[in-house]
């Protein structure tokens, strides 16, 4: 178990911060050296997103890796899934990708991968941090310094392999697809794969630009809403949107708008379980749509902490997919989160079944859902959390199950559930839930907000921020 009092380097998804105050060349060089030391690596794949500081930090990572004797395979500018794929394809011992994912352009950071393309496990991270903070990476002598190879073609090879793998069995529709690339590196891959599968692809913001001029690189509902009329006016069959480095994908209907991530996961689970039987690993905040679909198809649902779904692949034997909101892994393709693969799979289904996204989603349950953030003063967060815990547990009569893997989740006899969770990165408490009716869910959320309000008022705080929404 990780000790929470030591200094930390890795957040919920890699290392991130502002350049140059938090993330700078020296840090990246030393972390890269630590990662390579941990893996006793001889060969490491290195890539990065389209941010303006990514090239300099890739040079730093190169220095760090080569200084401990590791040969560097620099796969140039690629989306994140392509780096993970390359790590495995090129038989590297580990992979390093410079990115701050969907953070603003002044941020940057690093994600690290095992030789098979899987992101570091939590234990790996702890050990890398030990090496880093103790400065015990293994510098080598002058004649053992690593070499560098620049290999700019892996994106094309990834596109070819993925296209060939997902070729539709039959073509019932040439779907018109609008995809927003977030000015990110996925511009080099996703449109080509979708075209290759047989779609008519129109792109938004496919010019790679580390300033993210087109829109925020985070594909949130509110960020994408302004582009919905675009999708509608073009009459497309689906509107897809990536984050800055292509591991995430949002799915929108030109008619119905943003589709809940749970339902997208359920759709993917439906497909995956139709091909292979086994377990589906999801994070604790995933809702009943997934549960319904998985169970109806004879699959087993395994629930884990947020950010650790990939660990499920290591710990459980028969996992056929993992997912958390935004992020999807199909281990038969590779053990990494791959938004390009996710987009391609959805388009493949549209082509094979001859359906636009609305029809494709038919039959996937749609429950009212809350995803709320409450921002409270740091020093009061524990009090608030405890009060919320008590509130949730008091109404014990309808409770069927209490889960404490990650925060507190209470499942009710009627299938509804509520989850509270302290954010890993911000002074916030997250409230998630589903109910059978919108009103019931709204009431449950309101009850919890009242609790927050009371605790804070008792301690002299009269205002606090509530974000997010309750969706019908």
């Amino acid at each position: 178990m990780r000790c929470r009092f030591v200094r930390r380097l890795f957040g919920t998804a890699g290392i991130r911060g502002r350049y140059p105050d938090e993330i700078n060349p020296q840090l990246i060089a030393e972390v890269s050296a630590s990662i390579a030391t941990f893996f006793k690596a001889r060969k490491c794949a290195l890539g990065g997103d389209g941010r303006l500081t990514t090239p300099i930090l890739k040079h730093s990572a190169t220095v760090g890796l080569a200084s401990v004797g590791v040969d560097v395979i620099d796969v140039s500018l690629t989306p994140l899934p392509v780096l993970a794929w390359s790590t495995s394809k090129l038989k590297c011992d580990c992979g390093v990708y410079i990115t701050a994912s969907h953070n603003p352009p002044q941020y940057n950071g690093l994600k690290a991968f095992r030789g098979d393309g899987m992101e570091l496990l939590e234990d790996d991270e702890v050990r890398v941090e030990e090496i880093y903070f103790s400065r015990s990476w293994s510098s080598v002598e002058w004649f053992k310094v690593g070499h560098v190879e620049i290999v700019p073609y892996v994106v094309d090879e990834y596109v070819a392999e993925l296209t060939s793998r997902l070729t539709p069995k039959e073509v019932k529709l040439k779907p018109k697809v609008l995809i927003d690339l977030a000015n990110g590196a996925a511009s080099l891959a996703t449109p080509k794969v979708l075209e290759g599968l047989g779609a008519h692809v129109i792109t938004l913001n496919a010019n790679i630009d580390g300033r993210f001029p087109g829109r925020s690189p985070e594909p949130r509902s509110d960020v994408l809403k302004p582009f919905l009329p675009v999708a509608k006016s073009l009459g497309v069959d689906v509107f897809l949107a990536h984050d800055g480095d292509g591991d995430r994908l949002a799915v929108l209907s030109p008619n119905l708008g943003f589709i809940k991530q749970d339902r997208v996961i359920a759709l993917l689970a439906k497909y995956v379980l139709s091909v292979r039987k086994g377990s589906v690993v999801v994070s604790i905040d995933v809702g009943n749509a997934v549960k319904d679909v998985v169970e109806s198809l004879g699959g087993k649902l395994i629930v884990v902490k947020l950010g650790l779904t990939h660990e499920g692949l290591v710990k459980h034997g028969d996992v056929v997919m993992t997912a958390e909101p935004w992020k999807f892994i199909d281990p038969s393709w590779g053990p990494w989160v791959d938004g390009i693969y996710k987009a391609s799979l959805i388009v493949k289904l549209m082509i094979e079944e001859g359906k636009n996204i609305d029809k494709l989603m038919e039959g996937i349950p749609n429950y009212p859902q809350a995803r709320i953030s409450v921002e409270v003063p740091k020093h009061l967060r524990e009090y608030v959390y405890e009060a919320l815990q008590n509130k949730l547990l008091e109404g014990g009569r309808g409770i069927s199950e209490v889960i404490t893997i990650d925060g507190l989740r209470v499942n009710y006899l009627d299938g509804s559930w509520m989850l509270i969770r302290k954010s890993g990165t911000e002074p916030k408490i997250r409230i998630y839930g589903e109910s059978l009716t919108f009103n019931e869910l709204k009431k449950r959320v309101d009850d919890l907000i009242v609790v927050v309000d009371k605790v804070l008022k008792d301690r002299g705080v009269h205002e606090f921020k509530v974000e997010g929404e309750v969706l019908p």
Copy 2:
């Protein structure tokens, strides 16, 4: 003077055809060798657009150039204006660019440039053809074969230099710009320049893809119309659209739609003449909006054949700009058609004047305009043309001027005019014209169509195709 009976290689804008039947590696190698021989070149810049056959044809051009002893500077994938700029910037003796401009994806071809970046003059083309058809290019011995340098950075240098050159003097607006890149190489340049000038840029079809999946690479009114609601729904200040290689630019208003090319030329002339006095060279089909603006600002208007506006730079001493529909040259920037510069100049004006495109166009005259194509059987074209000629000249009373530079243009005393012209590439006759009122113009066009109809009917042809539109 070019003899019209010899076999021709060059069309109105370079060499173009279908791959591999009309355009193939051997042709490109031999034409490149001929061009280099004509220029007695020692160094040639080589570039190309994003078509799927461009890389192989660039290899062919390399072979052709090197085989006659020319060093090749391969500037990699760039938009056409960047190749022209590089030719001049890198002090090359000539430039070769592989492109079929806005033709469909199965086409490809070649454009050639003088050392200063200007496209070949008509006389140059004739002499290159002589070399080509007589196979008299100058192969060299083994130890004089040319070298190849791959220089992938010129796009960035072009972006930097253009951005710096056009930096707005003041910022009254951060315009929101939608730009459609036609899946072409201008994706690498135009968005960055516009951002650099201070615009908020959203892109359509900026993923470079030689299949042109997003839309036809020709930025015609009808091709772009489906995207107008996109511009409207995003609430942008202007909607711009390139062709496949970035020499052309269409300008659209989200509210008013496609803006006539004449009026865009007039806007540019207004700006250019505010900075420098001198002559403005335009093609014969350019309308009165330009005339009005140029004359009101004390400029001189010079009218030349279509496709040869750049020759005006050589023949006249004080030219401050040249233009024909789509194509714009500002010789103070460089003697090549540059759609990226054109886009940047318009956005600069919006920023400095604090106006969206509608307000910017206010004050630029807007005359009803016809741009019509009549397709007639090849063997009857001369009869039809002659009849049209007679028809136009018969109404001699209101005629102020008859111009025969390129086809037959009749100017009337009230300022209106009609032009007929045989197409250089297709079995068509073009009819252009402007009048003071829409109805008058429509009538004039109809009268001509009647003439066509009669000539054809007399010869047993009862159907023919009429394309284009009369705009109010």
Copy 3:
């Protein structure tokens, strides 16, 4: 069986000629397309030597290959064995290498390889020629044209793999090695491997230069003789010399001079057979030193035509090595002629056994040997050859065996032998032989020269050129 009357493209070792008269870009493009068509290839490795015309011809080969839909992996400037190795390593369907081997600098040409790195078989060549002369290579449509990847790192990977494979088991000597690289591409590989094995390496002519300024790229005895005092004055343990592209290797002793190729082959056979038992394939002109060693070690000797030893690997099951003068294949490393491997193996033996080249050769038999060329007028060659044949066969009493695989070889009861053979590339007759004493051999050769003299005189020719030498 190949028909000798059709036009031929391939000589005894690939295609060669003067640039640009015999070998030019178009020929190379078309031959490359023919090769790829023959192999139904999807991926082809492409490399070339350091000649001045190699880059342009590599561009041509790229055009030819891509035009038939083949993806090209351009491994840049490498010695020939590295291209063969890459073809296999990178899982290509075939390989093309631009070279004229040891010909003068105004020559160039092409060698082709199967997917496993073996040179074309004779039958393959015939079929490629059929495709070439019938112009029936398979051009593809615009969207199927092949892609090009430039991969400049294979030399380093080859060096690393070969060094690791041949690491000496023990180190009894750090031999001082002088190696002459013939200004060729092997400069990038052989010195590093020898250093890596543990030798002290001094190089001559390791600056890559397609004009071959240092010496003729053919490592003949007379070419290398002027450098023997260099080896002697530096006190090296062995003096090695490559040809221009690194498939050939000459071995010299600073004290004893040029070592007969037969004896070098015998040394290699001694090593190979000590590791693996099986057959040794040699060309018809290889002498008794090899026979003695192979038979004494229980190996089987298979004799084939000159230039076709690699075919032995296909036709015989248990071949452990093949060799002809200069050329050595160890199939456990790969089925290509590899002078770098040959050099490395000899140096490895020196290190492990603690011996300089003189000591290493001790125990390898050394027979008097003749290698003579007689140049006769083309139209008289058949007469001369027939007379020589009669002369050889007349002395029937001591003959033990007559072999007609390639020319006429007569083995005598005492182990001596004579071989006459018409050259495949020049109007010459070759005379080879070995005897127990130098004088007997000299007499046998003189007897044959007398025959030649007589035939020619009878037909009015009083002078002819005799080259080569009889070595004691």
Copy 4:
């Protein structure tokens, strides 16, 4: 004036030390950032020699430069003079070259150049050190980080320009030249230039290898002596030898051996002063051969400290060349030390005058010369130096001049001289001198050694090391 008590970074020729203890990636990054900050640079040329640690340190330099907002032009692997030339040619604001010159392979370091290609002046170094030690380089924000361009062709351009510049006016000899490249990057340039001028070039150790397998990279007399028989046996007209990065050149006669650097300088001065009149700047240890030649040709000799000859170009107006042993600057070519130019100039003279090196040196005076190093315990060096000073000054009767620019130099009335100097990098005292006769010189040196011996014995030290030689 530089304060001698502060920590120093720069030695007599850049920064050097062992990797990774003294020279490591972080140091190089920070020094590079300091250099760029000092120059307020926007663009910096970056190159490096063939050492194994040079690539990683180039990545570090890139990080340092880009982090302060400087665009990096990476000219790849080149000899040092080519980097200096590129700095000027590519209009950079400064240049950085990773090298440890002729030090052993485990060393590395950095040399820095002004925008015109001149090495830093002493004052520049002091100011860079101030920035470095105060850590006051100017890191920039995320959107101002520098870009990197890799430009691998400058060596070829340098070769072409230098060859064209030095083309012989007439050809009286095609000299046979043996050149030893020290396994360094000059292998890419010098042989091609010499060939281009018309020489027949044979190379030693032209395989680039950072381990320097062929010989020590320092072209000292004792290092090169073993190769003299090579030169002799090949019958060459001159034997040249570079150091590891190509700024230095040794000149040897196959018959007469190592030619004193003073005489080579005198030869160059003779040529330069025949073309242009002006001053010749030399270091304090340069002998009378130079003085004689310069004065006889009407030039002016300016004597400066060792390592600072290039400063003479800045301080004096009419300098036509500068030189110190090994190092030569012809400002009409460029203000950097250029061993490639030096080699080319000598070969040009041989070709034009039709003379081998022996004949070319005829007429250049040849005085007996001493170049001795005495190694003494650090704490006693001052005592020894003082005693030597006294000894030199005591014999005042024949003294014509006492110079204290750098150590103590005493000139005598008969033209002879002695110089003592404390080494800048080692605990040694250098003794230099010339006399009219060998015996007199030997006696003077012996007298000084006796002084050293006495001082040390008095302080209990009975042994000390004397290196170097007195040459007749």
